[in-house]
């Protein structure tokens, strides 16, 4: 069955419309990634409404390809103007910019492109092999396990997101509560609609995520007096690395890709975490540690392969369990739901055509990224020069048209703006917005599965403890919260001091 689905997905992904959407998505990602200040997440949020009119598989493939393309695009600005195009390219600056200063801009971009290709291909292979297996396992899940999965998803995202754990969890809890606005699926009663007919069908998460990810970004672009972006106009050196450089890159790139895949799988951690993790590991394993920070090809390739490897990794829990691995995959998941496809265990069976097409499209997007990177990187240099003040109003206009197009409702535009302002103030106190979006997506599933579980358990909460899978998942959720509280560090300190006391006699 899995093999048949794989073939079906490959056939769909090789269709003209799919290949075209993958190429357009990757090209958009490459250029958006190259613009400092525009994140991949924001670009996916803005592109989402455009995919509504498309076939689900084609539209979602376009979003995933944009994500992949932006990961490489981010390195262009990082290398040329010392400003990461996306947060995931932060570690690329460390060795990419010194290489540019040495007159090796082409080489740095080429190494970044090859490393991105290897990272992307390996993560696509991981997605292609792990997702069906995990999907099969997830098929055994009933409402009790699904409730535990949703709780685990929200707690991990809340506790691993940047900033304080309490703020992350609060953001997730508010998201879950907002998801409950609208008609209650069990009793049919309008819940928290406050008399507004617009809220009967709930708060649309797509509208919320456009506002949360785009408006704060646009305001941020204009609120600081801009410095002139100094960059080169062209580079003349060869892009592709030599065979000797490739030999140096390969083991390091494979290790970094594995780090990227694993980091991607863990919900709440994305390219920004993976690039530093892989960079530090590359330095630890390197024979040439002194070169790091001064233009090391190993350092550059580690950061770039890891951030592309995150893409496939992050899609694994998204597609199999319905838990987004990163904020970008949360939007991709939202895109699936707009097309009436519920992410989760059934995605690998009921909607196998869409899922397997997406998996293959991601693989193809790596090839598109490599080809487009070789052809258009020289052109993308100009994009890095675009002023932030030129970009900000364009983002706003796209947000407005995108949020209107979802339900053909002006109320949604007001809602998008309200979420945008909320997101701006959330950024001000370092409260992550991703858990809120994930909460809004998982809220309905949490509500329905809780109700069904309590019916199974005859109104007893012990049903979640009696079930071994649910008990284990809830235990991991508890640990993920506790490990980031001061209580955990106090316990750890006490254990350490006890051990040292014992050692001293």
């Amino acid at each position: 069955m899995i093999f048949e689905n794989l073939l079906l997905g490959l056939k769909n992904a090789m269709s003209i419309s799919s290949l075209l959407s993958v190429t357009i998505g990757t090209a958009l990602g490459l250029f958006v990634g190259a613009m400092p200040g525009l994140s991949a997440t924001m670009a996916i949020a803005l592109l989402l409404p455009i995919t509504f009119g498309m076939n689900p598989a084609t539209g979602i493939s376009m979003l995933a390809s944009l994500y992949m393309g932006a990961m490489y695009g981010g390195s262009i600005a990082a290398i040329l103007i010392k400003t990461p195009g996306t947060p995931a390219a932060a570690a690329t600056v460390m060795d990419g910019y010194p290489l540019m200063q040495q007159g090796k801009a082409g080489k740095a971009l080429g190494v970044s492109l090859v490393a991105s290709l290897i990272g992307g291909v390996l993560s696509s292979i991981a997605l292609l092999t792990i997702a069906p297996a995990l999907g099969n396992l997830a098929l055994q899940f009933g409402p009790v396990e699904l409730f535990a999965v949703a709780v685990l998803g929200i707690t991990i995202i809340g506790s691993l997101s940047q900033g304080s754990t309490l703020l992350g969890l609060l953001s997730g809890a508010i998201g879950l509560l907002l998801a409950l606005v609208g008609m209650d699926p069990i009793t049919g009663t309008p819940r928290f609609t406050f008399g507004s007919i617009y809220l009967f069908s709930g708060v649309p998460y797509t509208v919320a995520l456009i506002g949360l990810f785009s408006i704060p970004q646009a305001i941020k672009l204009i609120q600081r007096d801009e410095e002139e972006k100094k960059t080169i106009s062209k580079f003349t050196d060869r892009m592709l690395p030599t065979l000797q450089e490739l030999k140096l890159m390969i083991p390091n790139t494979i290790r970094s890709s594995i780090i990227g895949i694993v980091t991607g799988i863990i919900p709440g951690t994305g390219g920004d975490t993976a690039c530093w993790f892989a960079y530090n590991e590359a330095k630890r394993f390197s024979k040439d540690k002194d070169k790091f920070g001064k233009g090391s090809i190993e350092g550059l390739s580690a950061a770039e392969s890891a951030n592309n490897a995150v893409v496939g990794g992050a899609l694994i829990p998204t597609l199999t369990l319905g838990i987004p691995g990163s904020s970008a995959t949360a939007i991709i998941m939202g895109g699936l739901m707009v097309h009436g496809i519920m992410p989760g265990p059934t995605l690998m069976t009921e909607y196998a055509d869409v899922t397997y097409t997406l998996i293959w499209a991601l693989m193809i997007s790596n090839i598109a990224m490599f080809a487009l990177g070789l052809l258009f990187t020289r052109l993308a240099i100009n994009v890095t020069k675009i002023s932030d003040k030129v970009l900000a109003p364009i983002i706003i206009v796209l947000c407005v048209i995108g949020s209107f197009a979802i339900n053909n409702s002006i109320f949604d535009v007001y809602l998008m703006f309200a979420f945008g302002i909320l997101g701006y103030f959330m950024n001000k106190i370092n409260m992550p917005t991703a858990p809120m979006v994930v909460g809004m997506i998982l809220g309905q599933m949490l509500d329905t599965s809780l109700h069904q579980s309590l019916l199974i358990g005859q109104d007893s909460w012990a049903v979640f403890i009696k079930n071994p899978i649910s008990a284990a998942l809830l235990f991991i959720a508890l640990v993920s919260i506790l490990q980031s509280t001061p209580l955990f560090s106090i316990i750890k300190r006490k254990i350490k001091s006890k051990k040292s006391d014992e050692a001293l006699g």
Partner: protein
């Protein structure tokens, strides 16, 4: 504004938000109110936790400053403004312009209000040369028209053009 004060305000707002929802749960059947009440309790607990955390860190900073014989008002704030000055006037006017654009969208129509918004924002931000402003506005509107109206056939508020 100090980070701890911002966190306190955010926590109070979160508690008010959850209390509004809590009083609304009394109108709901018990089944529909179960999960919301659990979440409301959780939000209040987390907000109180953030307040305590902010208070503790504020006390620690004040203590550290006292040791260094500093005035209480002089303590260092780790917020971003200390490093990168924010042009608040520009940010506020930009946000008001977005609000005005959104509220005029339906009565006037997307294809009339959008170029007005783009041109006026560019002039206010002193973003680029007049020639570029005209070029970007026309080019962008043409792009939106072909992509959303012609190609994707998505609905657009037409306002006066209807």
């Amino acid at each position: 504004m100090k980070k701890s004060i911002r966190l306190m305000i955010a926590s109070i707002l979160a508690i008010i938000f959850s209390l509004i929802f809590y009083f609304n749960t009394f109108k709901l059947p018990a089944v529909a109110a179960k999960l919301p009440r659990i979440l409301i309790g959780l939000i209040i607990l987390l907000a109180l936790g953030i307040m305590i955390q902010a208070y503790v860190s504020e006390t620690k900073i004040a203590k550290a400053n006292r040791i260094q014989n500093k005035e209480p008002g002089e303590e260092k704030d780790d917020s971003e403004e200390k490093f990168e000055p924010i042009n608040y006037r520009q940010a506020i006017i930009f946000t008001i312009m977005i609000a005005a654009y959104i509220f005029l969208l339906e009565p006037i129509g997307y294809f009339i209000i959008t170029p007005i918004y783009i041109v006026s924002t560019y002039i206010f931000l002193n973003a680029t040369k007049v020639r570029n402003i005209v070029f970007i506005s026309i080019g962008f509107m043409a792009f939106v028209y072909f992509l959303f109206v012609v190609f994707l056939k998505l609905p657009i508020p037409m306002g006066l053009l209807q």
